[in-house]
Symmetry: C2
Subunit: 374 residues, 2 copies
């Protein structure tokens, strides 16, 4: 079935030259002289036959496969995976490389086998991606091959990584609410002690403190990060005597629960209660009513950053052991309709953000900021 593809030998025959010459002209090898006429003849033959080099053979010879592997822990269940893959793929393609994607299902043994498989295939480097931001321990096999982490950090020296800027995310969330005039805020945080949990809270607290909010103005509770958790937490918050006018949710799913609690309590969003989410899971944030203002995680950008770093490392001279760069990328605030001024300052004519506008957060303006070391 597979019709054999055209080889360089056939092109050589067609053009009446040696394969050496064909290779020289097709690769524009400098220092090699070939007559313009011959050059034309070869090129012509190549297109006429529809020649495309066999990358396997090329790779074997050049010791460069122009192939990278992306190993993820859970490719299937989140839409985030796709964005990271896409980011990586876009830069790969711009360098004539292709990406092997494998998913480990969090099983160390599967991971081992799959990485081994990638190495046997002579990948030039590996992107190691986590679906939620966390610290990982790198499989030892990866020591011998250039590696970059996505959405994960590690303590091993020499390994670049990129993660979301959780602190900035927390700040941006606070900023959005403060800018709308809120002074009594709540944050429903994740119960799990992961970087996002610490970072977002730190950022949120910091920005609130900057604005002069006291301890009483800021309620922070934790919950399971699903609609049920958000519902329970919100009921408690909203029935308390110090009812917040705005709630920042660890993620969008949690916010769904908050919406339900608000509805049940007769609170309208955003008139009576403002809500900010996190993740910008399109189907959730854009699907609930009113649309959820939320903070996007920079999955695509992380994929791009990591892939670029990876190729840099691959192309770098082996002896040049520069320190591994790391980055925290800030995601944009996605403005929808869940934030308005608090009830006491509300003036219908002056809603702050138009629906569905996509813009960047906060006072520092500018495009998604990138903070990185070295």
């Amino acid at each position: 079935m597979t019709q054999r593809r055209v080889t360089i030998k056939q092109v050589a025959a067609e053009a009446g030259v040696s394969i050496t010459t064909v290779s020289h002209v097709l690769n524009d090898v400098l220092g090699k002289r070939v007559h313009p006429d011959t050059r034309a003849r070869v090129k012509d033959a190549a297109v006429r036959l529809g020649y495309a080099p066999n990358v396997l053979a090329q790779s074997l010879r050049t010791q460069r496969s122009n192939t990278i592997g992306l190993v993820g822990d859970e490719i299937a269940t989140t839409p985030f995976a796709g964005k990271m893959i896409l980011g990586a793929q876009d830069v790969a393609l711009s360098r004539d490389a292709v990406v092997f994607v494998v998913s480990t299902g969090y099983q160390r043994e599967v991971e081992h086998r799959e990485i081994e498989e990638l190495l046997r295939r002579q990948v030039d480097g590996i992107l190691y991606a986590a679906m939620y931001h966390r610290e990982v321990e790198l499989p030892p096999q990866l020591a011998s091959v250039p590696t970059v982490l996505i959405n994960a950090s590690c303590t091993a020296p020499g390994v670049p990584w990129v993660v979301p800027d959780e602190v900035a995310g927390g700040q941006d969330a606070a900023e959005v609410l403060l800018a709308a005039g809120h002074r009594r805020l709540a944050f429903i945080n994740d119960v799990d002690e992961i970087p996002a949990m610490f970072g977002r809270e730190e950022g949120f607290r910091r920005r609130a403190a900057q604005a002069g909010l006291g301890a009483d103005d800021l309620q922070i509770v934790t919950a399971e990060t699903d609609p049920g958790g958000g519902y329970t937490a919100a009921r408690r918050l909203l029935q308390g005597d110090q009812r917040p006018t705005a709630i920042f949710c660890f993620n969008d799913r949690l916010a769904m629960g908050v919406y339900r609690a608000a509805t049940e309590l007769g609170l309208r969003i955003p008139q009576d209660l403002s809500v900010v989410g996190f993740d910008n899971q399109e189907f959730v944030a854009d699907g609930i009513f009113p649309g959820l203002t939320t903070i996007e995680l920079p999955h695509y950008d992380m994929g791009v950053w990591a892939a670029e770093q990876l190729f840099d490392r691959i192309e770098a001279e082996p002896q040049a052991t520069k320190p591994a760069p790391t980055a925290r990328l800030r995601g944009p605030v996605i403005y929808r309709d869940s934030v308005a001024p608090p009830p006491w300052v509300q003036d219908p004519g002056e809603r702050r953000e138009p629906s569905d506008r996509r813009a960047n957060a906060g006072s520092d303006g500018a495009a998604p900021t990138i903070h990185m070391n070295k």
Copy 2:
């Protein structure tokens, strides 16, 4: 940086034999005799050195890369992509193959370039995946290489494809509602004329007719397949004089809008109105309250089926041109809490399905049925 991997030559030296012998023992070539002692020595040397063959070289020699490509139109935005990839990957891995994933973004020119890149890399075959079920026209480049379609059909002969069984889905939806006792049904269908639109309606109608429902008992309207569309359509349906007691939605996002409309009209789900969705988008169906009973699309299974077909074709003798198999896979009904008996027969003690049970639909019981030709 990349530490060169062990080659067969080194193993040969270590074991004191020729590379031929190493190859023979490591591949268990039949018809080749090698002394048990030597055999042991070679194997030992191989593991001691941590030898793993260079797949590039192997492929070059054997003309088989054990690599397949998956080209999708939109990898990033739906969680469905991940499931198809995972399905394909699982069977690939069981055959010692790996999957290249590329995403075309619906751009024909990008698609062409990416497929070309895959072919240069000597992939053994290609999976061509659509993110929503539709009929596609195959890029001509794919004529020369084994190809299987996922979630798409095509008229080209000799190309296997697999799609969801839309008709069965429509029937299952009707079955769920009829079994709960509903007799006045509505279906909010997609406005776009795609296979899912036709198939689901056909199935829904057919099952309703079987149950003896007349034209008046069945309202079918169309809408944009997003929450807004569902909202508008549901308002209209629920305010009409022939208010249905149950609504089947073309997809889960649409159902979100139906939920909102119901809430606004003071109708409780499922007591006053039952709802069935389609897609089982976890974050949506499991996130809204009450949990949405819905029909899952068999993305993972389609990935598996397609990959298996692909490998079969790859391994088949070239002359053996069997007719291309095609399949329509039925997805399971995912029972949650949005379906109950209609108001007039309601008996609180007898809710039909426990929450969150995962089971198969309807009267025909059994595991997800597979219908296929040949």
